[in-house]
Point group: C2
Chain length 520, copies 2
Amino acid sequence: MLIGGSEVRGTEGVLRAWNPTAGTDMEPDFAAGGQVEVNRACLLAQEAFDSYRETPLETRAQFLRAVGQGILDLGDRLVDRACAETGLPRGRIEGERGRTVAQLNLFASVVCEGRWICATLDSPQPDRKPLPRPDLRLRKIALGPVAVFGASNFPLAFSVAGGDSAAAFAAGCPVVVKAHPSHLGISELVARVIQKAVADCGLHEGVFSLLVGQGNAIGRDLVQHPAIKAVGFTGSRLGGFSLMRIAAERPEPIPVYAEMSSINPILLFPSALAKNAETLAKGFVDSVTLGVGQFCTNPGIVFGVESEAFQRFRRAAAQELSTRSAGTMLSPQIHSAYQRGLERLEATPDVHTLARIDATREGCLGAPALFSSTAKQLLAEPECADEVFGPSSILVGCETADEMRMVLEQMPGQLTASLLLDQQDLEMAGALLPLLERKVGRIVFNGFPTGVEVSHAMVHGGPFPATSDSRTTSVGASAIERFMRPVSYQNMPKALMPASLQDENPLKLWRVRDGKLEQR
Amino acid sequence: MLIGGSEVRGTEGVLRAWNPTAGTDMEPDFAAGGQVEVNRACLLAQEAFDSYRETPLETRAQFLRAVGQGILDLGDRLVDRACAETGLPRGRIEGERGRTVAQLNLFASVVCEGRWICATLDSPQPDRKPLPRPDLRLRKIALGPVAVFGASNFPLAFSVAGGDSAAAFAAGCPVVVKAHPSHLGISELVARVIQKAVADCGLHEGVFSLLVGQGNAIGRDLVQHPAIKAVGFTGSRLGGFSLMRIAAERPEPIPVYAEMSSINPILLFPSALAKNAETLAKGFVDSVTLGVGQFCTNPGIVFGVESEAFQRFRRAAAQELSTRSAGTMLSPQIHSAYQRGLERLEATPDVHTLARIDATREGCLGAPALFSSTAKQLLAEPECADEVFGPSSILVGCETADEMRMVLEQMPGQLTASLLLDQQDLEMAGALLPLLERKVGRIVFNGFPTGVEVSHAMVHGGPFPATSDSRTTSVGASAIERFMRPVSYQNMPKALMPASLQDENPLKLWRVRDGKLEQR
């Protein structure tokens, strides 16, 4: 473990990473920590908080960029270890590395721009009757130390230096990461890069720590620690619910940003379908099988109004899927959960298997599968639309557009919805749009949900149970907002004023003065 | 009750308002509702949501202004009833009415300005390698129907058409208010104004309903209703905790914005104290006794370093307080809770009574009281700083500045902290500032915390347990943010685009385009 500037070996047993391709565990041993190490890391983070949140914006940006550069400088060591620990192909890991670095650099530029500070100034009115109006100035400050839990499916982009950490660092929050047990080696490599960047930038060592531990106990201790003021998590619904409960039951409840599960419905509209059933089917199967289906945005369900064209889509998708092969999944746990999910669907009356690849080899191979059902069945048994994490999807035939609306209205919150449509479908799509806005965080037109852009206008989030808090996003520039809270200063003496609120606006921020946005 | 456009009489018994000055109940009978009425109001709100959140901004602003004008048009009917139901003096009610109307008008202008939509556009990059970048556009939309619980101490400004309702309406959320049982008449008068404004502006009737009910059951049913997507509450810690728990245990947990309790520490700095002990003492006693101490921002605790000057402050404050008289409190419940709070303090060893007014008359009279204690005692027994809602405060002597820091560090979250200082105290104050920023939502310099400005830079909020969610404010323009969530649109056809995201920017909004703020 890395706790502040130190290397610490825990005394709670030993963990090893697993190579899902080879089916073997991997050197070296990682000594697991417990409550003692959690406490040490959290107290250090608390100690670091006041100074870190007031570092000049340029220093903070430099820190984020240094982490990005350090990750690139790890070169093949990181890529090799990531491939071994995840079974993901080299190209995917390199792509994810690029995205992780781009994310850090995006936040570096967001930090310097400073709009997230929300600097707001109300001029005093000393002569107002019956009472004078005071001078009021508002800025947002960081929430406090943040606990981050990495995702199994993104060893870099949603992990030690992933989106949650980058946003929290940008906001001015120290971060304590609990390493994903499948990514021990990658986590250590990246953590050392952060540890070095903290030192190089002259920051308090408590700005970052990495914890390694067995089972759920260390995560629970971390979320329960009084120094922790928010939690970032990407993972299963079970894990997310459990963290939400722990956080809500603390003497001081704290926000949990858990991204949990989503089946990312695809809506096929009649005219587009009639013209392009086969092309759409191919694109759909590409999206389902991408990365062995291990994306939070994997399209697990497709809705169409029953028609000859929907029949063609079903046939084409089944045929296309039959040409694909099984791929190594991230871990034995994920693989067996996937198998169980397929078995559950196969055992459900009125759910039919359209296509399924045989996975002849034992081990972690996830084989693509396609099912078919009806809106009626889904209305009667909504749980058969529960996420099956992996390369599987279910095609749902609706008798009418009204039935499609009914089944969508019943659907729980999702990260995305995708609409495949053309000019003739616009009216029908427009009528569904308000419903979809209520249900999801991102609406994709004529495309598939996999592929999450890291930019200013991205929302990777959505209503419960897709996430625990629909008010923010875990990807994109506005993720910084989740780690901020407003503070107002009344009649503050000039000598005490933070730079962001001084009359002269030395940081050249965009600010709201007496209700008007200005930059002077 | 008013449910949508209808008048409804419940069948769950009868309630009457109470006149705390006269000590009698008041005409007329209000018929209490139950689950049936909750369900009807919530389903109507749900039905209204999609259309209301897309009303043109100008219509929504007009609606808010119509409510404000309607409240003014009620004239003396409203003021008389409010005085009777609360025991508050006429001037205070008229002032609060002005503030409530100003609040509605502020949100009307905020709505039209549209910065809260956070319109954000990322240009497509069709030629980017390895993958093209899509067109992405983000806007914030309303969360959904909001349940609002009025406060006992602000029959207008934190009630039926108070801050939470105004912010929710501004954001595009229908509102279901549970009337405060002490404000039945005022609630009905204001609710009829809203009901009429809804009709006059051509809005869906479900945009607003007012429920009346016995005990906690109707509130619980309201918060548990699946159509409700957020809760606004101002009241006791017990009430707030209970709503937080109910909301967290729903199948779909929802955000609760509960403003609960605060003792609003005042910090006396040595140099200012030495020069102005007597003047400061008078200002302090004014603030403690204002409105019979029934403000969330009432200063319930004062810290100073022991000195001859602090002795003078103590004496002057005790003497000043002895000249004040008891006042009618809002309700018998609040009065008896205040009495119990005083008895608790009097029974605490090492807490001394400095001054206490006798309340000879029976009934709802709250008598000012002043206590004294030490930092040591507070460190040993933090619960003696629990809020005593009413005109009471406790003066805490610290042996050193370090001890003051220690006792502040132990203090739970507060709405405000006030610093009384001069030039010579700046260094000491500056050193405490980071701690105070972590603890409170508003920091007041050389003033007292009572008096909450309704403006852009106000924060009326703070870390738990002052509120349930430190990330927002319940007063001021940015309260609108608490009822919003972001949605992103990928490659959206022009024909479906909401006005806020269209290329031509027909609403002339400030928008972020490719990371830069612009208004074109």
